[in-house]
Symmetry: C2
């Protein structure tokens, strides 16, 4: 038993070798644990179904926490469809390495890492089966120079497969999951699975966000529930998890994401952006005051 180089505590999981661990495995795990030891809070953004705006929410949470004065990292683990580079204006950029570590890219101080940075062309597809994805996610956590962070926000691909499973298993002290859905029943059905997934893996559910909740016609103001409404709030109540808020559909947000701009950082006064700011504030309160149930 030794003391962790990072936190100087011998209670740190990086300090003791597990019974069934080989020397090489222990060294690997030690690297991972002492890296994560320097990150105060780690949250993962999940959804059961794709296209619910999970990456948009993840970027806005990360940017919102950063605007509150925190040091924040944003890790995209969507191996097959990494949207973060486009959405945050870092398309075509490649992180540099310094021998042992990869240096994350920065946008106004927000540290960002994504598998999308390593594709030769936007059209390239990463055709990988599960075990290769698990290795890549391990590297993104272990070999990236995240440094001292208050928050690491992990944007996971939808579903309950290899990527979210790897994130939840590799980050031992995950503070919790934010779960994104749309009001549709077919989305809410899938998102219930994400909550079951968190419970099975003992990851606290920080709350549910209902995205794409109604659309206000920019001409006449008529509000249409394009995908229905209230499905996320109802589902959160039924599953006994906190409801963090609803975000209406806003073409300005879709456009901002396509242009690589982050809505919460912009001076847009739309209900969608306002609600996003409120949700970030709620997460910040949870983070400061202690863990959610």
């Amino acid at each position: 038993m030794s003391t962790c180089d990072t936190c100087n505590k011998n209670s740190c999981p990086a300090t003791s070798r597990q019974a069934d661990e080989s020397d090489a495995d222990y060294k690997e795990r030690q690297k991972l644990e002492s890296r994560l030891c320097r990150v105060q809070r780690k949250i993962v953004v999940l959804s059961g179904k794709g296209g619910v705006g999970k990456s948009t929410v993840a970027i806005n949470i990360a940017a919102g926490l950063m605007m509150a004065g925190l040091k924040v990292g944003l890790l995209d683990v969507d191996i097959h469809g990494p949207s973060i580079p486009t959405m945050i204006g870092l398309e075509g950029r490649t992180p540099e390495g310094n021998g042992e570590e990869l240096i994350p890219l920065e946008v106004h101080g927000l540290k960002v890492m994504s598998p999308g940075f390593f594709l030769r062309s936007q059209d390239d597809a990463i055709i990988w089966r599960g075990p290769m994805k698990a290795n890549a996610i391990r590297q993104f956590l272990q070999d990236v120079a995240w440094g001292e962070l208050d928050y690491l926000v992990v944007d996971s691909p939808p579903g309950t497969g290899d990527e979210p499973l790897s994130v939840c298993q590799l980050i031992k002290k995950l503070d919790g999951a934010v779960i994104v859905t749309t009001p549709q029943k077919v989305a809410a059905v899938d998102v219930r699975k994400s909550i079951t997934f968190c419970r099975q893996l003992k990851v606290p559910v920080l709350g549910v966000i209902e995205n794409m909740s109604g659309f206000a016609c920019p001409k006449c103001g008529e509000i249409t529930s394009i995908l229905g409404s209230g499905g996320g709030r109802r589902m959160a109540a039924e599953m006994g998890v906190p409801f963090l808020g609803a975000i209406p559909i806003d073409p300005a947000i879709a456009l901002a994401c396509d242009r690589g701009q982050v809505p919460v950082q912009m001076s847009i006064c739309s209900p969608a952006v306002e609600n996003m700011r409120t949700i970030v504030k709620r997460l910040w309160d949870i983070g400061v005051k202690g863990k959610a149930a």
Copy 2:
């Protein structure tokens, strides 16, 4: 070398053992090949990004071909978020087995199989890594009593990972892929990856569908490009693949799917449903007249 029991041709891949194949592997492959030998055309519905309406499109293609008098099967291989049971009104139903085979469920003659039929509760999450998913997909192709079919439509989860890879590798004579996107740049970027994926695996691209293409306000008729517009058509032109059509956002479709009704079968006269019918007609023309480029 023997003759295939199903097609009676000795050119069938089921009839000859491959050089590197064990006896057991050959028997397994023979089962799969002679099952698929009874299906005239096999198409897979893909998307790079989730939530673009891929399952809605897959159901409507299957139902549309069936309404044209064909025998059609619909296979959902979305292990983590199977939407087909809810969307086609088969929630809570379980297929029966007859010892060796699983009998697909039927809706107006459309044969349907989904991993969702085997969950004890809607909240259950299938937390599986890649190799287990590949096995499950193999079983769905091999051990399901599909019988004689004109078309098997496979609804694949988004991305370029284990599930679409298994489908494309297991179905040797795949007629092609229909690729669904939304107009957004972040969706089109991911969908380009799906086209690259098809090219690498030598699966013909039948064409691209742009879903959620504009929204008409039900009160004033104003058309808003909520997610931008034209991204799918542009991307198809750039990548040199056919464009099959655009489908506008229609709350009636979202509602029909949540209620387990299939839009093309209903007497809805909306532009969205009309365009879906036109797309099915195009696919049917491609199927009848020969393979797409």
